[in-house]
Subunit: 384 residues, 2 copies
C-alpha cells in the first residue's frame, strides 16, 4: 500500500510546537510535504525553516525582513489555512491569534491539528459547529487531549469521566502564601515538559490545566462535572478516561510533544519514528498520584468558572491571562497578581457579558480585556 503524502501548513512554525512539528516532519519526510509556514517575529529561524522545507507559501508578522524571503509567495494565515493545496493545518501559534486561522481551516473542511488552546476555549461552540458543517476533523495536539482522544478511539459509548493529569508544575505543594513570592526564574523551570514561556507560566499557575478543562468540555462534549484533575508529577500518564462500566483507559508516553504532534499528523495510522523516545519500564518503578489542592491555584478556579459561564467569559479569561503573564514575565506584577488581575477583569466584564457571542463579540471582548488590563496595571495613560 502506497500512502499519500499529506500536505501541511504550519501556523506558528517558529514556536515550541511549530519547531517540534517540523522535527516530526523531517523524521517522516516521505509522508509529509510542507506547503506553508507562518512565523511571528523570529525571522532568523523562519528563514532557516523555509530554506529547509521550501514551502509554497510563507507568512510572517514582522514586516522588517530582508530580501531572502522574497522568493516565496507571501500568503496571509487565513488564506493559507484554507488553501486547496493544504490537507492538514497545524495550529501551533499560542494565544488569541490562533482563533482566525483555526476557524478558516475548519470552515474549509481541513484536518486541523490543534495545539492552540485559546481557539477552542474562547470560540469552541462556533468552531465545533463549523467543523460539523464542513466535515473538518479537529485533531487535538495537547498531550492530555491527545491521550483522551486515543483512549476514546473505537469506543461506542461516551466517556463517564475524564481525568486530566497534571504534573502540578514547579510549585506543587506550595501554599497560597508561598506562591505570592515565587520568581520568574522559578516559574519557568517546569519539571517535566519543554514548552514555550507562556505555557510554562500557565503550567505554574495551573491556568493551563483550567484551559484544558474547558477544551475537554468543548472537544469531547462532556460536562464540567465529569472532568477531574489528578496530580501525577512524572507526566507519564497523559490522561485517563473512565467508562460507564468502571473500566478506565490511559495513554502513556515519555513527556515529549512530538508524540501527540505525530499522532495528530498520522492519524488514524501510527508510524515508526526512531527519534521518539519510548517508555523504559526498567526505570519506571512507580507512578505517583495525589489530589489537587484547588485553593493554591486560583487561576484554575477562575478558568473553570469562566468555562461554565461560557459566552464571552473565556475570551476575557484568555486575554487577561496573556497580558497578566506578559506583565509577570517583565516583572511588572508578582506571581499572585496574575490571578488577581484576571479575576478583576472577569468581574468588570459582567456588564458587557454576551451569552451567545459571534466571533466579532469574542474578538471585541479580547480587545476590551487587553486594553483594560493595561489600564489596570500601568494606569490610564498606557491604554489606547
Amino acid at each position: 500500500m502506497v500512502d499519500a503524502i499529506k500536505k501541511l501548513a504550519v501556523i506558528g512554525c517558529t514556536g515550541s510546537i511549530g519547531r517540534q512539528t517540523l522535527e516530526v516532519v523531517r523524521s517522516l519526510s516521505d509522508r509529509f510535504k510542507v506547503i506553508g509556514l507562518t512565523g511571528g517575529s523570529n525571522i532568523t529561524l523562519l528563514k532557516k525553516q523555509v530554506d529547509k522545507f521550501k514551502p509554497q507559501f510563507i507568512y510572517y508578522r514582522d514586516k522588517k525582513t530582508d530580501a531572502q524571503l522574497e522568493n516565496y509567495e507571501f500568503l496571509p494565515e487565513e488564506a493559507m489555512a484554507s488553501h486547496p493545496d493544504v490537507d492538514t493545518v497545524v495550529i501551533a501559534t499560542p494565544g488569541g491569534c490562533g482563533l482566525k486561522p483555526t476557524l478558516a481551516a475548519v470552515k474549509a473542511g481541513k484536518d486541523v491539528a490543534l495545539a492552540n488552546k485559546e481557539a477552542l476555549v474562547t470560540a469552541g461552540e462556533i468552531i465545533i459547529a463549523e467543523a460539523k458543517k464542513s466535515g473538518a476533523h479537529i485533531l487535538p495536539v495537547d498531550s492530555e487531549h491527545s491521550a483522551i482522544w486515543q483512549c476514546l478511539e473505537g469506543e461506542k459509548t461516551p466517556p463517564a469521566r475524564i481525568i486530566l493529569t497534571a504534573s502540578g508544575g514547579p510549585f506543587l505543594g506550595y501554599t497560597a502564601k508561598q506562591l505570592t513570592e515565587v520568581t520568574v526564574e522559578q516559574a519557568l523551570k517546569h519539571p517535566t515538559w519543554r514548552m514555550g514561556k507562556k505555557v510554562t507560566i500557565d503550567s505554574a499557575t495551573l491556568m493551563n490545566k483550567g484551559l484544558e478543562v474547558i477544551e475537554a468540555n468543548r472537544l469531547f462534549d462532556i460536562s464540567f462535572e465529569k472532568i477531574s484533575i489528578l496530580i501525577h508529577p512524572q507526566s507519564i500518564i497523559h490522561s485517563f478516561v473512565e467508562f460507564i462500566d468502571g473500566s478506565t483507559k490511559a495513554q502513556l508516553g515519555w513527556p515529549d510533544m512530538r508524540l501527540p504532534i505525530q499522532y495528530a499528523l498520522t492519524y488514524p495510522e501510527r508510524l515508526l519514528n526512531i527519534q521518539l523516545p519510548r517508555l523504559d519500564w526498567d526505570k519506571i518503578n512507580q507512578l505517583n498520584f495525589e489530589q489537587l489542592n484547588m485553593d493554591s491555584f486560583p487561576c484554575l478556579k477562575l478558568a473553570i468558572e469562566a468555562g461554565k459561564r461560557g459566552g464571552t467569559m473565556p475570551a476575557v479569561l484568555c486575554a487577561a491571562d496573556e497580558v497578566a503573564v506578559d506583565f509577570y514575565l517583565s516583572n511588572h506584577i508578582g506571581f499572585g497578581d496574575i490571578a488577581n488581575l484576571i479575576q478583576q477583569l472577569l468581574k468588570q466584564h459582567e456588564t458587557l457579558f454576551e451569552t451567545q457571542p459571534t466571533i466579532d463579540d469574542i474578538q471585541n471582548a479580547d480587545a476590551w480585556t487587553r486594553e483594560n488590563a493595561i489600564r489596570l496595571v500601568l494606569g490610564e495613560k498606557h491604554a489606547n
Copy 2:
C-alpha cells in the same frame, strides 16, 4: 433504541468465572437471557442457579443427581455451545475440558466469551482458523487480554509490544530456594484476585502468566519477542499496549473479574452496572512496577518455551500443570515439584511431538501426559 436481549450459554457455571458471569447477568437482567447452564460436580449450586435463571438447557458431569433437575432439557456441552438459540457462549470452565465446547461454539460462528486459557493455548491455531472461517468472535475474558483488546479497539496499526502485568502472586520476591518450601495455604492466598484454586496456584507459580503469554501470542497474532511481563503488585493496570510510535495505552480497573466478563458480554457497548467497583483516585497514591526475576519462576519459562515450540507441546504443558497442581493441592508433591514434573513430561514428549497437530493429536497428547504424570508421581500401578 431498544437493544436486543443476548441469549447466553454458560459452560462451567458453578466455577468462579461462571458464578461471576451470572452475577453480571443478574445485574443486567434486561439485557441477557440464560439459555443454557453447564456445571461440573457442584450440583447443589447448579440447582440454585437453574432455579434462578430457568435456562432452556442444562448439563452436568456428575450423573448422581436427584429429580429436581429433571424438568430441564439435558443437552451436552458441545450441542449447547452450538445451539441456534444461543448468541454468546461463555467458556468459564477451567482446564482441558474447555477445548471441545470452545471449538463447537467457534465452528457455529458464535460470540465466544473465553475465560478458559487452555483452549487457546493448546489449540489456538485451529480455533483462530475456525473463527476466521465461521465469522465467530473470540472475546477474551482474562483481565490481561481484555485490557489488551480494549487498548487495541479502534487502532489501525498492530501493537509493537504487549506488556502483560503480573501481580507476582503471593510469592513475589521469594528466592527459588524459598519457593521449594511454601505450603498450599500460602499459595492459595492471592494478594489481589479472587479466583478458583487451580488458577490461584498457577498465579503463584506464574504458570498462569506463561499461559497468558501464549494466549496473547495466539489471540493478537504477535510474536513472543514482542510480549513482555511487568510486575505490578496492585493489579490496577491490567496490561499495556505499546504502539510503533511510542505511545502506550493501558486499561485499568479494580481487580474484579466481573468487569472483563461484562465487557465481553456487552461488547461493543459498555453498560452501567452499579455492582461493579470503580477506581478511587483519592486512595490510589502510587502504582508500582518491577522487573520480573524469571529464575524464581521456572513454570513461566517452561510455558514460554512450550508456546514457542507450538504443536503438541502446549497441550503437554497444560495437562502436566493440571495434574501437578492437583498433586500439590493434595499434598503429594511440593511447590517446587510442579515445575519439575512439567519439565520431565515435556522432555519425555519429545519423541511423540507433533508440529501440526489435529484436535485428536492434541487430546492424545493431553491423555498421554496425564497418564505419565500419574505414573511418575504415584508409580506404575496407578496409571491405567
